[in-house]
Symmetry: none
Subunit: 311 residues, 2 copies
């Protein structure tokens, strides 16, 4: 006897419906195929499970015994398969991630290619959005997790700090401050015109907080790093960028000067919902992220000269 899941499903459906036609529909089978499926099950077990005629279908005593068994065995088996399906989702699954533009443009590309090489069947969806958007994506479960700046929002989140980067004053080589080795907050504030970012941005939020209650004398408010970069290159102003964003400003005419801010570190964290077990695919990606920040942490250290990297 080779009892199969399909047989148990069919039996359970018939025991429930007590009607071949409806039970067959439920199993996506023709009534005739369903009938022989039940017959085969009965033959396999060597006993009648249902006493039936054209008007009435009901369990025999032996059928009752089998129903008791199936009532525990079937859910367990289904659950087992569901468990395996979750496993399988590592190979053909989906990971949705939200990430700050600075993170997306710096560390994610290499992680994506490594993950894809390891799990070629897993679909990766990455939304690059400012900090506020990242948090909302996580909150509404539109992503498995986010890589963004630390947040203090509620206790629904788990925020794991992965690294922290610091801020740099980025200007054209012809800028009056271009040759300085370091700058103070007040010096930077005087460096008008300065290019700032949209209020949803973690950079803007951080910088606003740092000089509170003062405000930035801004001439431009942009949404993307690349726009800011274009403006700076054109000599229309300077901007302030955390370490991870510097890559966007690699240009021979630009200079990046470390700033000494009251709160100079921006924490990069892995943000996810507390009561949501990440899928295995997501877990795998998270592992890759953690590994990245462990092995390449030094790259983020402000002690490294980024001036050199920009030229």
């Amino acid at each position: 006897m080779n009892l199969s899941l399909r047989q148990m499903r069919a039996f359970a459906a018939l025991a429930e419906a007590r009607n071949f036609t409806r039970a067959a529909e439920q199993c996506s089978l023709t009534q005739s195929a369903f009938s022989s499926l039940i017959s085969n099950l009965e033959a396999g077990l060597g006993l009648k499970l249902f006493s039936r005629n054209t008007r009435n279908v009901e369990l025999t005593n032996e059928g009752e015994v089998f129903l008791n068994i199936v009532n525990t065995l079937l859910p367990e088996t289904e659950r087992a398969l569901e468990e395996m399906r979750s496993q399988a989702e590592l190979r053909r699954g989906k990971v949705a991630i939200a990430a700050l533009p600075t993170i997306y443009s710096s560390i994610l590309p290499s992680l994506i290619s490594r993950f894809h090489a390891e799990h070629p069947g897993v679909e990766l969806i990455i939304k690059d959005t400012a900090n506020t958007g990242c948090i909302e994506h996580v909150r509404h479960r539109r992503v498995d997790f986010a890589l963004c700046a630390a947040t203090s929002e509620g206790s629904d989140f788990i925020a794991e700090t992965l690294a922290s980067d610091s801020f740099h004053f980025v200007c054209h080589a012809s800028h009056p401050l271009a040759k300085r080795r370091s700058l103070t907050a007040s010096e930077v504030q005087e460096a008008f015109p300065i290019i700032v970012y949209d209020g949803a941005s973690s950079i803007r939020q951080h910088l606003d907080a740092v000089i509170y209650p003062q405000q930035w004398r801004r001439s431009y408010e942009v949404n993307s790093l690349s726009t800011a970069a274009a403006l700076v290159i054109e000599g229309l102003g300077a901007t302030i960028i955390p370490t991870l964003g510097l890559r966007q400003f690699r240009d021979p005419h630009l200079r990046a000067i470390p700033i000494d801010l009251p709160i100079n570190e921006r924490n990069i964290c892995l943000l996810r919902l507390k009561h949501r077990t990440p899928s295995l695919a997501a877990t795998a990606f998270i592992a890759l992220v953690r590994e990245h920040f462990e092995t390449e942490l030094d790259r983020l250290r402000p002690s490294n000269s980024f001036r050199a990297k920009l030229s």
Copy 2:
């Protein structure tokens, strides 16, 4: 995915043996068939369970997960099938029977012991109750079948007549009629005091019907044969008993005289619900009952002298 018992068995064997050839042998399959069986299982689950080459077979991480599942699921499934096998082989089961006291006390004991000897694992539940009770037990499916007097109740029942017995006047040896060889209905009606049975009793129902619209001049109305027997032995009255009930009145001081009633035969039948396939255990018991009445039918024939048997 239609997980089957065979797939689980094969997986367990391979996880144990870690060798396709030996695991295949254990499953009574060629190595090639076994290989594709495992492949199909992996394809069905959507993941590799074993990482293998020609020298080495071992479980993947996903395989380990599946092994944990199978280690509980497989034994449970096997046990379930074993349970059903026991049912099929009548090594387990339950038969519930309702029977008239006259039947219970006459033919059932030997049938019970024969059935028990043949099927020691089958539980027997026998309710001795008057005719009305028997019918209700069948109607409400509290018993698999009943051995009782024929009924004309509705078409939900199947009533198979097994035998018929006839009625006897039973009295103390000192009774005025004790020496008669036979009696008529009117003679019996005059034989006051007469002990009758509760209205639910088939004997009472039969006798009431026989003399309708007259009524029995009763002095005692009892529920059990043994009570009636005690009364008769004490000389407090006579009673009327069908053949099957005579056994209760075996006493040297009692006499049983055949009565010539207008309807002298009480049909003993096997009563069950029409649309209910009896369990295997019940079927086996029914077979025993039929066999009994086929081989020992003569015992019930009123032609036999029961006077002799009583002394």
